[in-house]
Symmetry: C2
Subunit: 116 residues, 2 copies
């Protein structure tokens, strides 16, 4: 159901983004996986929540998407019954240039079997 069609979703403005909030959002493996997935899409592309094959239940996923949105990492938009997610590339690159690239490139996991 996504949500009541009115009362828009809360997104912090670009100016309101903070390093600590964004860092905290990226410090969870599940959320980082979401960001990595979105980051490998063409700029501006979006995906509904259901297309992320995450290892946690729906309610937990919902919480993670909300955390990312409230930290200003992703943008969410309701389209019919689905909630579409996209990276706030422009805003993040403006406020924290390079951070997103790092997150996407590294994903998680220590450097070891970094096989080509």
């Amino acid at each position: 159901m996504a949500s009541r069609q009115s009362h828009e979703l809360a997104h912090p403005s670009r100016a309101a983004l903070t390093f600590t909030a964004v860092s905290a959002a990226l410090s969870d493996p599940t959320r980082l996986a979401i960001v990595v997935r979105l980051g490998r899409l063409a700029p501006g592309d979006e995906l509904p929540c259901a297309t992320f094959a995450l290892s946690v239940t729906k309610s937990t996923q919902s919480a993670h998407f909300r955390t990312l949105r409230e930290a200003g990492v992703i943008r969410q938009r309701d389209e019919g019954t689905r909630r579409m997610n996209s990276l706030r590339r422009d805003d993040l690159d403006d406020r924290f240039p390079g951070l997103l690239n790092l997150a996407i490139a590294q994903g998680d996991a220590p450097r070891s079997g970094r096989r080509r």
Copy 2:
């Protein structure tokens, strides 16, 4: 007292650093302040814990320094009665190029009175 002169302090190897652990370490305002302070020193320079004018008690500071060390953000070395802290610039720049610069440049706080 810093610590028993033997049994060295635990520092993760460069290869063992993870994005989530480092992000988590940087996501606390007190810890970020420590990193910012160290980051404004000349490369390689170190400071004892006591020289950071932090708004929390000594025991809390101790915990924060340990968190940063265990995440691989800082290096700690005992010198007499003081514990010297320095940034692991080389390792961080290798694993997460640009991340440290961002943290240091931004500190925390939303963009607003970013005068000059």
